[in-house]
């Protein structure tokens, strides 16, 4: 009788432990959102870029200190843009306090693809007892030359788009490959969220229950995942892994969740 009780107790403790580690408390996403993802010849050549750390669907902001790295890759060359960042403040309609985010202006000078990338300063998340670093990127196409979008930036972890990451219709599939230190991550877990503050979003999407907020897909044995985007606006894909290094918080070594995040934009077929 006693052993049976102990057995059930053990089972429930193990299940609880599994649930706690598998289900994220809330889906944090690094964002890097440009004012336009396709620059045509008659468009303004200057784009505004906003860098945030938020819950995209619920629109909650988190305080973001100045990123460690912000740059762009164009035509195989990396350019440091950290010095162009300006601090700004924002919040969701139901938040009372303002939080910091970062903006930059960038002038497109040549045709081709521009992949903007951010390495944030590690964010301490007390609720999960770990640091979070979301390596985040977005691709902007300029002047009809579709070259460069599938080139890796060389971040510790990143998603390589297998679908060209711009010029996407609502309902299109987005396919990407999750890399960690340049190698595919078999069966990586990828969280997907809609950015409710997408420009042009007709109405704020309210999720009927929690699983609708963050969509979850698993990659295959080559780290390749696919998701069909059901609405016009910005979609974020975050592949989460644990870093093989630690950071100290109040003198104690803590784990680090490293996320590979990519943002893509869809529009409705009219």
């Amino acid at each position: 009788m006693r052993t049976k009780y102990l057995f059930y107790l053990l089972i429930s403790m193990v299940s609880a432990a599994i649930i706690f580690t598998c289900v994220p408390a809330s889906a944090h996403f690094g964002t890097v959102i440009p004012s336009d993802d396709i620059i045509s010849k008659d468009d303004s050549k200057t784009i505004n870029i906003q860098i945030k750390f938020i819950h995209p669907m619920e629109m909650h902001y988190m305080e973001m200190v100045k990123p460690k790295q912000f740059g762009v890759i164009h035509d195989g060359k990396k350019y440091d843009l950290l010095g162009t960042l300006k601090q700004a403040k924002g919040k969701s309609p139901d938040q009372t306090e303002n939080f910091s985010f970062w903006t930059s202006e960038y002038k497109i000078r040549r045709p081709g693809d521009y992949t903007f990338f951010v390495e944030p300063t590690p964010y301490w998340e007390p609720a999960e007892d770990l640091f979070i670093i979301h390596y985040t990127k977005v691709c902007v196409n300029a002047l009809g030359k579709e070259e460069g979008w599938n080139e890796p930036v060389g971040l510790e972890t990143e998603i390589i788009p297998l679908t060209r990451p711009y010029g996407l219709w609502t309902g299109n599939l987005f396919t990407g490959q999750v890399l960690l230190k340049g190698k595919p991550v078999p069966f990586a877990e990828v969280e997907v969220e809609y950015l409710n503050e997408s420009p042009g979003n007709k109405n704020i999407v309210i999720a009927p229950s929690d699983p609708y907020v963050t969509q979850v897909v698993k990659a295959d044995s080559n780290g390749v995942f696919t998701y069909a985007m059901p609405r016009a606006g910005w979609w974020g894909f975050a592949a989460l892994n644990e870093a093989d290094w630690k950071l100290k918080y109040e003198g104690k070594e803590k784990g680090i969740e490293i996320g590979a995040v990519i943002w893509v934009h869809t529009i409705d077929m009219k």
Partner: protein, 111 residues
Amino acid sequence: MMKKIHFVLIFVSVLLLFCTNAMAHKVNLFAYAEGGKVFTESYFPDGRPVEKGKVLVFDSQNKKLLEGITDEKGLFSFTIPKMDDLNIVIEASMGHKNNYKLKKAEVEAGK
């Protein structure tokens, strides 16, 4: 034997047709002024250069100022012909055509 060769030739030609059609939808031209010259770059969407494409340059009154031919890298440059809005047209083979407008302010900035 001849019949076989004919068949192969037709098959290859059809394949070639498909190849060019798939990629050659659109030509693009990009231009900027720098150091007293206007530099143009002509390319297909996948980044391949438009070789031996005809570049025509018009002023704001639609008067042709000059023309030239792109090199193997799709490039063609010329000395700034006039401080004006320039309409630069690329004409590639098979009637593929596109243009790029370089505003007067941009031309002046590249004096």
